[in-house]
């Protein structure tokens, strides 16, 4: 069997330990993106290292490895993939040390579909990928 991969669609990895948030993000983005979903940041890291996506959409607070720790671990291995962080914490952005980083976007929870798609489009455009909003 031949599996066709549509290279024109940006490829995203979504990470959230909460299956409801994961499923909502997938539904909001799947029309225009190839989406892979993970509930565990370590599992996502291995997947990203094996097959690098165009961007990662990640929760911050997760048991085991946080979203910020995931990004730091990838950066340390030389993988500089753009991130959209989802957070229900008003102070997370200020404490993250990512201010001014064009490869990082933030979106407060609960997610708004238009805002999520806009953030993803923006970060992909920074990275030279176009996307539909």
């Amino acid at each position: 069997m031949v599996v066709e991969v549509d290279n024109s669609r940006p490829r995203l990895v979504i990470v959230d330990d909460d299956p409801t948030q994961l499923c909502i993000a997938e539904l909001f983005l799947m029309d225009d993106h190839d989406v892979r979903c993970y509930t565990d940041a370590r599992e996502a890291m291995f997947a990203i290292l094996q097959d690098m996506p165009d961007a990662v959409v990640s929760d911050i607070h997760m048991p085991g490895m946080s979203g910020l720790a995931l990004r730091e671990a990838l950066e340390r291995t030389g993988v500089h993939v753009p991130f959209v962080f989802l957070t229900g914490d008003d102070f997370a952005q200020g404490l993250s040390g990512t201010a001014g980083d064009a490869r990082v976007e933030w979106l407060p929870k609960p997610m708004d579909k238009a805002q999520l798609r806009e953030r993803v489009a923006r970060i992909l455009s920074h990275d030279g990928r176009s996307a539909t909003v």
Binding site: P19, T20, Q21, L27, F28, H61, M62, P110, K113
Partner: protein, 160 residues
């Protein structure tokens, strides 16, 4: 190995907390009373407008599936809240109610989200007794919210 920094657990610190589950005190030493505060919010446990927006952004079938996942997740989180309190694990409790807060907001369960936010804040509080008060009220609110979701889901089916 990368892990989240271990926060000090107030459950572990306080001998009073260790006896809390055996000794029920009626005295609340602060003006905040979660049970009565959340009682007053029960007018609308589930915001239908939020669910209608989510349905418009996805589909009727997708929302049905999402509500099923949410329901399972709420049950699972309630179990974790019990376990975290039994093992005096404030960090686990905090992570759990933080996640539940976000889900509850997504499905328009605002009293539940508020209760989670308050319990999340209390996890860093000096007095662990208040955590147990808030936990009991939150678990009661979870039951009531799930019952309210039953009603909403029946309405959705009949309105279909």
């Amino acid at each position: 190995m990368l892990t989240l920094p271990r926060k000090p657990s107030h459950f572990e610190k306080s001998p009073r907390a260790l006896n809390r589950e055996k000794t029920v005190s009626n005295q609340i030493d602060d003006e905040f009373d979660p049970a009565s505060e959340w009682q007053s919010m029960k007018g609308e446990l589930v915001c239908r407008a939020t669910l209608q927006k989510l349905e418009a952004e996805t589909s009727h079938q997708a929302l049905t599936r999402l509500l099923g996942i949410f329901r399972m997740e709420v049950h699972k989180r309630a179990g974790i809240i019990h376990e975290a309190c039994s093992s005096r694990d404030a960090e686990r409790l905090q992570v759990c109610v933080h996640a539940l807060k976000s889900s509850a907001q997504s499905f328009g369960c605002m009293p539940l989200a508020t209760a989670c936010m308050q319990l999340e804040t209390l996890c860093g509080h000096e007095n662990p007794d208040r955590i147990y008060e808030a936990r009991d009220a939150l678990l009661m609110l979870i039951d009531n919210t799930l019952a309210a979701l039953d009603v909403v889901e029946r309405e959705r089916e009949h309105g279909r």
